[in-house]
Amino acid sequence: MQPSPSPTLSPARSNLAGWLYVSPLVLVLVPFFVAPILVVLAASFFATDGFGGLTPGFTLASYVEVLHSALTLKLYLATIKFTVLTWIFTLIIGFFVAYFLVFHVRNQLLAIGLFLLCTVPFWTSNIIRMISWIPLLGKEGLINQALLAIGLIHQPLEILLFSDLAVVIAYVHQLTIFMIVPIFNSMARIDKKLIEAAIDAGASRFDIMRLIVVPMSKSGIALGTIFVVSIVMGDFFVVKVMSGGGSASVVSAFYEDVGVLQYPTAAASAVLLTLVLVAIVSLILRTVDIRQEITR
């Protein structure tokens, strides 16, 4: 944080001023983030009559049920599979798209224009962008029609839509932007003189990539990873729609549980998922001080 030039205040008054400025934020986050999380935590310990009624109390029955079920392991494995695949693809595409924009496009205005071109879909509906794959991937979709037409296949491929492949495609389509933006941001800050110096010192382009670009975009990669991982692990509608009901994830199972009013088991599974997510995010945060990174 940069030192502020405002009139010097005593530490106590500056604490008060800081809190006054963030108080509206806190007033929203406490009832709509902290309280709901506590409610879910409490509900996970309650007993249920099976019809949506909750009996206040303390039982670990829901956790035992969730942890003992073979389904839980399957759900977590499926979720981790989707998360890892999406992470790899978004990272590769996001890194090279950002690299291209920062280091290969010579005209700065053009680079910003192309960058905006990538970001525009972020501001449109995710659900619409997801269903927009149907006319392409469907059994009678464009890709099957094209493959049939050139004689590469004789029967329409059925694994294109309503499959795990479609789920990953939809995720990568939606989330690559979350990689591009932070990586672009950290790459744009790399001093070009550093690279000039490396070239003068005889470094190959691969060396520059390995020793300068990748280490210096680490914070962008970390931020992008946090976004992608937390969104994929918290998602349920892409899995539900794009797998055609064939696959499930932890949160889509949670959604089904809520649908049949199994609040305590749903809450217990949500608490476990949140713990896993917190563990992953804090692991990433240990490698990079994102607050320092964003505000510098």
Partner: protein, 301 residues
């Protein structure tokens, strides 16, 4: 996204001061390295994959009554748009559209004001600032559906009715505010403190320095925050699902349509919502460019 919007003025300056030759890793005079062509192809493929599918559904939404969900196009008409707003089986599209726009406007106003204030607060360290910061990050990464359920249960426990302008509003703010504050961080970090200092030296009060110096200088960044607030709320789904009460917002309507409508009406709805998004994006970017231009001409004249 935030970065580029905030970077715009900076980019213009650096363009004039740094020679273009330092831009590319490879020598910029003469031929491009082979990697340029590989990466340019990758970039083009990415952009095509990004926009291609969306354009498919926009095109398919203009079929006539025989239309189906896949190519080839069957005729040209606005049949499915009329169908969308008149047929009962597609649900209350008009009502949910209305509600979503109103909600997005409310969310936008609150997001801009609260993010701006929080951005001011976070400029200096204060006791507990890290706690507030991580609370915000937590709100951003928490699974939306879980938070939504918690909010729904909380309202139920307190005996309040869930509705789009109470519980859903709060649930959406828990999503738009962290984004807004992060954008504010990026914007604030490029704010030149000399201007504020000058205002104080000339005898401005804290309030005057905010109102007469900071807000005009940060205006493009505030427009960017507004863009985030509006579009994130307008498209928000997971957090609204358990909190919107009996009346749907537009994304919830689209969600229920994806589950039971199998006609190009669905695509027509996609086209309509995208047009709204594009109008908002265009207006925001236009405003930012206009502010920058005005500044440029003032600086010259």
């Amino acid at each position: 996204m935030s970065a580029v919007l905030a970077d715009m003025p900076k980019a213009d300056i650096s363009k004039t001061t740094t020679p273009a030759s330092t831009k590319a890793i490879a020598p910029s005079k003469g031929g491009r390295p082979w990697t340029f062509y590989v990466l340019a192809t990758l970039f083009a493929a990415y952009v095509i994959a990004l926009y291609g599918p969306m354009f498919c559904i926009y095109i398919l939404s203009f079929q006539d009554i025989r239309g189906g969900l896949v190519f080839p196009m069957k005729g040209h008409s606005l049949h499915w748009f009329v169908d969308l707003f008149t047929q009962a089986r597609t649900g209350d599209v008009k009502g949910s559209f209305d509600r979503s726009i109103k909600l997005a406007v409310i969310v936008t106003v609150i997001t801009v004001v609260v993010s701006f204030l929080a951005g001011l607060g976070f400029r200096k360290r204060f006791r507990g600032d890290t706690f507030v910061f991580y609370m915000m990050i937590g709100s951003l990464v928490a699974p939306g559906l879980v938070l939504g359920l918690g909010t729904g249960l909380l309202f139920q426990a307190l005996g309040l009715d869930a509705s789009w302008y109470t519980s859903a509003l709060g649930a959406q703010l828990s999503w738009t505010l962290p984004f807004g504050v992060l954008v504010m961080f990026a914007v604030m970090s490029r704010f030149n403190h000399v201007w504020e200092e000058a205002a104080y030296d000339l005898g401005a009060s804290r309030w005057q320095s905010i109102w007469l110096v900071m807000i005009p200088v940060l205006a493009p960044g505030l427009v960017a925050v507004a863009l985030f607030g509006f579009t994130l709320s307008y498209d928000e789904f997971a957090r609204s699902l358990q909190t919107a009460g009996s009346l749907n917002t537009l994304p919830l309507e689209i969600w229920s349509m994806t589950l039971n409508v199998t006609s190009p009406s669905l695509y027509a709805l996609g086209t309509v919502t995208t047009i709204v998004s594009f109008v908002v994006i265009g207006a925001s970017l236009g405003t930012i460019v206009l502010i920058q231009k005005k500044r440029g001409s003032q600086a010259k004249g």
